[in-house]
């Protein structure tokens, strides 16, 4: 009797479509990824179950363990204009390069008096200054934070009116360290409240229930 031959199937598999897809996804994620820029201070945020993402257009105040305050506005157009207002109020003169430097920077915790020196410094020197700084002053005697907040909101509002885009307004985010004192956070909220801001987004890590 003739044996029935079972047709052997080829064990190799055509992987081309899969590889195509993999590369497509790699390209997509590489292009959409935004890299984390260097931050002046590292903060370990508390965790919560909230799944709300941080909005894009934010004014962020960072509070570290020692209660030092750092300030940041994401929108570069707003940043530069806020800086212009602050420098004219505090009588600080900055060169065009220093303003450019400020535009590309992230958060900073320098009083106005030291800002020029900070912007002119090299990367390594800045890291040193970030360690040594006392943060942006926010006590009632010399409340620079309050001015940063005021100009930030005024300029954001004027730009929003210019663009006719009232929906995308500046959101206030507070990024506090787990170990920071709540009293400090409360004081900073009070500075905001004096500037008529009453709702905040507290930056947290995601955790399971």
């Amino acid at each position: 009797m003739p044996k029935i031959k079972v047709p052997r199937s080829n064990p190799t598999l055509d992987m081309t479509p899969m590889v195509d897809l993999a590369f497509l996804l790699v390209t997509f994620f590489m292009l959409t990824a935004t890299f984390r820029t260097e931050e002046a201070v590292v903060v370990d945020t508390p965790s919560s179950i909230s799944e709300k993402l941080l909005p894009d257009n934010t004014m962020m105040v960072t509070i570290d363990t020692a209660g030092r305050v750092f300030y940041n506005i994401d929108d570069q157009k707003v940043r530069v204009k806020v800086l212009e207002n602050m420098t004219s109020k505090y009588g600080v003169k900055l060169s065009a390069e220093e303003i450019k430097e400020f535009e590309l920077m992230k958060d900073f915790g320098m009083p106005m008096a030291n800002l020029k020196q900070y912007l002119a410094a090299s990367k390594a020197e800045r890291a040193q200054m970030d360690k040594a700084t006392k943060g942006i002053p926010y006590d009632s005697l010399k409340n620079e934070l309050s001015d940063w907040i005021l100009y930030g909101r005024v300029i954001d509002a004027s730009i929003a009116v210019e663009n006719g885009d009232e929906a995308d307004r500046l959101k206030i985010a507070i990024k506090g360290d787990s170990e920071a004192n709540y009293a400090t956070v409360r004081k900073i909220m009070k500075v905001f409240q004096d500037r008529k801001v009453n709702s905040f987004s507290l930056v947290t890590n995601l955790e399971g229930k």
Partner: protein, 206 residues
């Protein structure tokens, strides 16, 4: 064509012609694919976890008119006292009287959350019902939100007063706010601790 067919047929033909060796056109793609997937995994993971999450909070305005200060119902009020201690929460219900004894609990799910869920169980049950209705699509998203708000701000719903002292850590406050969100407590306020409460804490620690 004929030559080709004879060649593939035997290989050991009589006329052995010299010919250039044909190298295989196939390249081993495995390392490349490995790398591609490695990168893919890396970017997927960093992309989703890169953006921080936020918890929204509204602070109450300072009332200009002292008469407009909200008075809290005794039965529905719970006061949570947070100190510098990271594993103890003191609390009491209603108004602090001379003979009120503080209870203590902790930040674990079996601690504060259990108490809150128990005290606020009617609201939690109603919100869960609404959630179920939303997943079954019997109510729309906007009605869900307004209904939840109505339930949470009802008169019988639990009202939590979080009180802090000078040394309370920021983490403790965020943790408690998080527990309140889990337990559907919307009526909440954060305040400074009164002297009477500080004394009460001292009393039970001695």
């Amino acid at each position: 064509m004929a030559e080709l067919s004879t060649d593939s047929g035997g290989g050991g033909g009589k006329h052995q012609k010299k010919r250039a060796k044909k190298s295989s056109t196939k390249v081993d793609m495995t390392p490349m694919v490995d790398l591609a997937f490695l990168l893919l995994t890396f970017f997927v993971l960093t992309a989703t976890f890169g953006k921080p999450k936020t918890m929204d909070i509204n602070m109450p305005l300072e009332p200009k008119d002292k008469k407009k200060i909200t008075k809290v119902e005794d039965q529905t009020a719970m006061t949570v006292l947070l100190t510098e201690k990271k594993d103890v929460i003191y609390y009491y219900f209603g108004v602090l009287k001379k003979d009120t004894k503080l209870d203590s609990t902790n930040y674990a799910p079996s601690g504060l959350r259990k108490i809150l869920l128990d005290k606020n169980k009617d609201v939690v049950a109603q919100v869960n019902q609404l959630k179920e209705k939303k997943t079954q699509k019997t109510i729309s998203d906007s009605t869900y939100k307004s209904e939840v708000m109505k339930v949470q701000s009802a008169k019988e719903a639990l009202y939590v007063i979080v009180k802090t002292n000078d040394k309370t850590k920021y983490k403790s406050v965020v943790d408690v706010l998080d527990e309140l969100n889990i337990c559907e407590v919307d009526k909440k306020v954060i305040m400074d601790m009164a002297t009477a409460e500080k004394l009460a804490i001292k009393k039970i620690n001695n």
